[in-house]
C-alpha cells in the first residue's frame, strides 16, 4: 500500500521532467507519464526504439536538471495525455503494475550501459556536491554555534578536524574588528611555532647601567617590533632580540681595549690584531675574506688558530708605540688603509720599501711629537708650580683675613647668642613664674574645691544622721500609733461583736414577736384561718436557724394554708363524731345491713359511762376522750381516739387528722419558742 502510494507520488513529481523530455520526443513523455492506457499508445509508436538517443527515465533523472522547459509545453503534453486517458483510466490510486510494466518495457528498450554510466557519474557528482555542501554548511554552523555555546565549542574544537583553527580565526577576525588598534599585534600569534631563545644577559646582570638599548624582557609587542627593526638595521645580526643584546657587549669591550679598534664594524679594524677579541661573527667574516684573498697566501687555511697569525701578511700594518696623539692616529689609520690597499692589490713587493720608509717617518714624527710634548709639559709644570706658589700665598693671606673676620664675627655672634640666651632665659623664667603661679592658683582652687566637697559631704552626712534620727523617732511614734490603731481595731471588733450581740438580740426578739404573732393568730380567732404570712415572717427572721426551719418544715402545708381548728371546734365536732361512732360501735367484723341496723337500734339503748372509764370497748374510749377534751388535753384525747378499730376508726379519721394538725402546729410553735429562748440565753 505504502509503496504504491509512493510510486504514484513519484510519477506525479516526475511529470515536469517528463514534459521536458516530451519537448524532444513525444512518445517517451507519454510513456513516462505512466498510465496503462498510454502503453498501447507507446506500443503503437515505438519510436523510442528507433531513436538513437537514450531515453530518459523519470526515476534516473534528477529534479534539478538543467533541461527545464516552459510550462506551456508541459500543459500541452498534459492535455494530450488527458485527452487520451479518460476511456480506461485507472482508479484514483494508479496501480503499481503499469509503472512496473512501463519500467519493464522501458528497461530493455534503451541501450542500458551508457545510460547507467552517465546516470551513475551524475549521481556520484551530485552526491559528492551535496555532501560537500552539507559538510560546509554543518561546519559553518558548528563554528557559528561554537561561538554561542561553550560546551559545543569544547566539543567542536576537540573532535572536528580544523574546527579549532576555524574557530580561532573567526575569533581573531572579530577581535580585530572590535579593536582595530591592535591589528599589528596579531603578528605575535604567528611566531608561536618558533623557538624562543633567552639570551644569557637577559634579566638581572652585574652591570649597573647598560650603555646599549634597554633590551631584555619584552614587555610589549610594539616594543619588541621596534627592537626587531633595529636588529634588522644592524648588519649581520639576527632578527631575534637575543643577538641585538649580544651586539653591544663586544662593542663596549673593544672600546675599553683599544680606541683604534673603536669602529669594530669596519672590516679594516677587524684586520687589526686587537680585533682578535671581537665577536666570532667578525672572525668568520675575516676568515672568509682571508680565504677570498688567500689564493696567494698559504697561511689562510690555518686561520682557525689564534688570530695573530693572519696579520702576518706581506706588509705588516703599522704598530705605533705612542699612538695616543690623534694626529698620529689619523696618520696610522691612513697608512694602514694604504697598507690594506696594497695588500689587497698583492703589490707588496713594490710598495714595501716606500711603506717601510713611511713607517719610519711616521715613527719619527711620533717621537718628535712626543719630545715636543715633553718640553711643553715641563714648561707648563714650571709655570704651574710658580702659579701654585702665588696662589698659595694669596690663599694664606685670604685665609688669615677670613679667619680674622670669622673670629670677629664669632665673638659678635657669641655675644649676641648670650644676649639672646639671657633674653630667652628671662622670658622662660617669667613664663615659668606665671606657670607656677597658675599652678598654685589651680592647686588652691582644687584644695578649696576639696574643702567645699568635704563640707558638702559633712553636711550630707549630718543631714543623713538627722534624717535617720527623725526616722527613728518617727518609727517609734509610728509604732505607738500602730499600737493605738490595733487597740482601736480591737475596740472596733469588740463593738462589732457587741453589734452582733445586739443584732442577735434583735433577731431573737423579732423571733419571739413572730412566734407570739403566730400563736396569737392561732388562738384569738373563732374560726380557723391561714397563718401563712406570720409563718413567712418567722421564717425570714430565723433564716439561718436550722431548728426553726425544721420545725416549720414539720408543719403540714394544709395547716397553715387553711388554718387549724380551735379547741372548741374540735370539741363540737367530737360530739358529732362520738354519736356516729356509737351507732357503729356494736358492728361485727363482716357486717351486713342487718347487723348495721341492729347495731344502730341497740346503740340507742346502751348505757352511757362517765369519767375516765376503764375498758377497751368503744364506749369507754369515747367517754375517756370526752373527758380529756373537757380537760383540754388534746394530746391524750388524740391518743385515745387512735386506739379505735374498724368502722369506728374510719368514722373518726377526719377528726383525728384535725387534732393532729393542731397538735403539730402547737408543737412546732413550742419548739420555735424554745429555740428563741435558747438563743436569747446564748447571747447572754
Amino acid at each position: 500500500m505504502l509503496r504504491t502510494s509512493l510510486r504514484s507520488v513519484r510519477a506525479v513529481g516526475s511529470r515536469p521532467v517528463a514534459a521536458a523530455a516530451a519537448r524532444q520526443w513525444q512518445p517517451a513523455v507519454a510513456r513516462s507519464a505512466g498510465a496503462a492506457a498510454r502503453r498501447c499508445f507507446a506500443d503503437g509508436k515505438k519510436a523510442s526504439i528507433d531513436d538513437s538517443r537514450p531515453v530518459k527515465l523519470p526515476s534516473t533523472e534528477t529534479n534539478s536538471a538543467a533541461s527545464s522547459e516552459p510550462p506551456s509545453l508541459r500543459t500541452e503534453s498534459y492535455i494530450d495525455s488527458t485527452i487520451i486517458e479518460p476511456k480506461d483510466a485507472p482508479l484514483t490510486p494508479p496501480a503499481p503494475e503499469p509503472v512496473v510494466s512501463s519500467t519493464k518495457t522501458a528497461a530493455p528498450l534503451p541501450p542500458p550501459a551508457p545510460v547507467k554510466k552517465k546516470g551513475f557519474f551524475r549521481r556520484l557528482r551530485n552526491y559528492v556536491l551535496t555532501l560537500v555542501l552539507l559538510g560546509a554548511v554543518t561546519f559553518g554552523g558548528g563554528v557559528w554555534y561554537s561561538r554561542i555555546n561553550d560546551n559545543f565549542h569544547d566539543f567542536f574544537t576537540e573532535y572536528v578536524p580544523f574546527g579549532e583553527q576555524a574557530v580561532l580565526y573567526l575569533e581573531e577576525m572579530e577581535f580585530r574588528k572590535r579593536y582595530p588598534g591592535h591589528s599589528v599585534g596579531g603578528t605575535w600569534n604567528k611566531d608561536t611555532g618558533a623557538q624562543v631563545k633567552i639570551s644569557p644577559q637577559s634579566g638581572a646582570s652585574w652591570r649597573v647601567a647598560d650603555s646599549g638599548e634597554p633590551a631584555g624582557r619584552q614587555s610589549s609587542a610594539t616594543r619588541d617590533v621596534a627592537a626587531s627593526k633595529t636588529a634588522a638595521s644592524a648588519p649581520g645580526s639576527a632578527k631575534t632580540a637575543a643577538v641585538t643584546e649580544a651586539n653591544p657587549a663586544p662593542d663596549s669591550s673593544e672600546k675599553e681595549l683599544k680606541p683604534v679598534a673603536k669602529s669594530s664594524e669596519a672590516p679594516k679594524a677587524a684586520v687589526s690584531p686587537d680585533a682578535a677579541f671581537a665577536e666570532p661573527q667578525a672572525k668568520a667574516k675575516k676568515s672568509s675574506r682571508s680565504s677570498r684573498k688567500g689564493k696567494t697566501d698559504f697561511k689562510a687555511p690555518e686561520v682557525d688558530e689564534p688570530s695573530r697569525f693572519p696579520p702576518a701578511s706581506p706588509i705588516d700594518p703599522l704598530k705605533v708605540k705612542d699612538a695616543q696623539e690623534p694626529v698620529v692616529q689619523d696618520l696610522v689609520k691612513m697608512l694602514n688603509d694604504i697598507i690594506a690597499v696594497v695588500n689587497a692589490d698583492n703589490a707588496d713587493d713594490r710598495f714595501s720599501s716606500t711603506i717601510g720608509k713611511a713607517k719610519n717617518e711616521l715613527n719619527k714624527v711620533g717621537s718628535k711629537i712626543r719630545d715636543l710634548k715633553a718640553k711643553v709639559e715641563s714648561d707648563a709644570a714650571a709655570q704651574v708650580t710658580s702659579k701654585v706658589n702665588e696662589f698659595e700665598t694669596a690663599a694664606n693671606e685670604l685665609v688669615g683675613r677670613v679667619e680674622k673676620a670669622m673670629i670677629g664675627q664669632e665673638s659678635q655672634w657669641r655675644a649676641e647668642f648670650e644676649e639672646e640666651m639671657k633674653r630667652i632665659q628671662s622670658t622662660y623664667d617669667e613664663r615659668i613664674k606665671t606657670e607656677i603661679e597658675k599652678e598654685k592658683q589651680v592647686n588652691e582652687q582644687k584644695l578649696n574645691n576639696k574643702l567645699l566637697e568635704q563640707a558638702i559631704e559633712l553636711k550630707r552626712q549630718f543631714l543623713k544622721d538627722v534624717k535617720s534620727r527623725v526616722e527613728e523617732e518617727r518609727s517609734g511614734r509610728l509604732g505607738k500609733l500602730d499600737q493605738l490603731s490595733s487597740s482601736v481595731k480591737e475596740l472596733e471588733q469588740l463593738t462589732t461583736g457587741w453589734n452582733d450581740v445586739v443584732d442577735v438580740n434583735l433577731r431573737t426578739q423579732q423571733l419571739h414577736v413572730a412566734v407570739e404573732a403566730v400563736r396569737a393568730s392561732l388562738e384569738d380567732v373563732e374560726h380557723p384561718r391561714p397563718f401563712v404570712r406570720e409563718l413567712v415572717a418567722l421564717k425570714e427572721i430565723a433564716a439561718e436557724d436550722p431548728v426553726v426551719n425544721a420545725a416549720i418544715g414539720s408543719i403540714n402545708p394544709s395547716a397553715y394554708q387553711r388554718g387549724i381548728a380551735t379547741p372548741s371546734q374540735l370539741i363540737d365536732r367530737f360530739r358529732r363524731v362520738a354519736s356516729e361512732v356509737r351507732k357503729a360501735s356494736l358492728l361485727p367484723d363482716d357486717a351486713g345491713v342487718a347487723s348495721h341496723a341492729s347495731s344502730w337500734v341497740l346503740s340507742k339503748v346502751m348505757f352511757k359511762k362517765q369519767g375516765l372509764a376503764a375498758g377497751d370497748d368503744v364506749e369507754s374510749i369515747l367517754t375517756r376522750t370526752q373527758t380529756y377534751l373537757e380537760e383540754g388535753n388534746l394530746d391524750a384525747a388524740a391518743r385515745e381516739m387512735n386506739g379505735l378499730q374498724g368502722w369506728a376508726k374510719t368514722l373518726s379519721k377526719d377528726w383525728l387528722g384535725e387534732v393532729r394538725k393542731a397538735l403539730e402546729v402547737q408543737q412546732a410553735l413550742d419548739v420555735i419558742a424554745a429555740e428563741a429562748r435558747l438563743q436569747s440565753m446564748q447571747v447572754e
Binding site: 380557723p528 387553711r562 358529732r576 357486717a591 351486713g592 376508726k649 368514722l651 379519721k653 377526719d654
Partner: protein
C-alpha cells in the same frame, strides 16, 4: 375573712367527712330499696291486671322482689366497705 371562708366549702363538697360515711351508705340503700320495691310493685300490678284477673299477690310479689334486690345490694356495698377498711388497716 375571705381567705378563711373560701377553702371550707370545697372540702365538704368534694369529700364527705368520715363520720358521715355510714349515713350516706344508709341513704343510698334506702333510696335504692324504695325505687326497686316500687318498680317491683309496678311490674306486679301490671302482671296482676294482665294475667291474673286483678289478683293482689302478683303486686306483693313484685314489691318483694324489688325490696329483696335492694337489700342485697345494700348488704354487698356495706360488706365491701368493711372489707376495704380491713385492707387499709392491714
Amino acid at each position: 375573712m375571705p381567705e378563711t371562708s373560701v377553702p371550707a366549702p370545697p372540702s365538704t363538697v368534694s369529700r364527705p367527712v368520715s363520720e358521715a360515711l355510714l349515713n350516706e351508705k344508709w341513704d343510698r340503700c334506702l333510696s335504692n330499696m324504695l325505687i326497686k320495691s316500687s318498680l317491683g310493685l309496678g311490674f306486679g300490678v301490671v302482671f296482676s291486671v294482665l294475667l291474673f284477673r286483678r289478683r293482689a299477690w302478683p303486686a306483693f310479689v313484685g314489691v318483694g322482689f324489688g325490696a329483696g334486690r335492694a337489700y342485697e345490694e345494700c348488704n354487698y356495698s356495706l360488706k365491701q366497705a368493711s372489707r376495704d377498711l380491713k385492707k387499709k388497716a392491714t
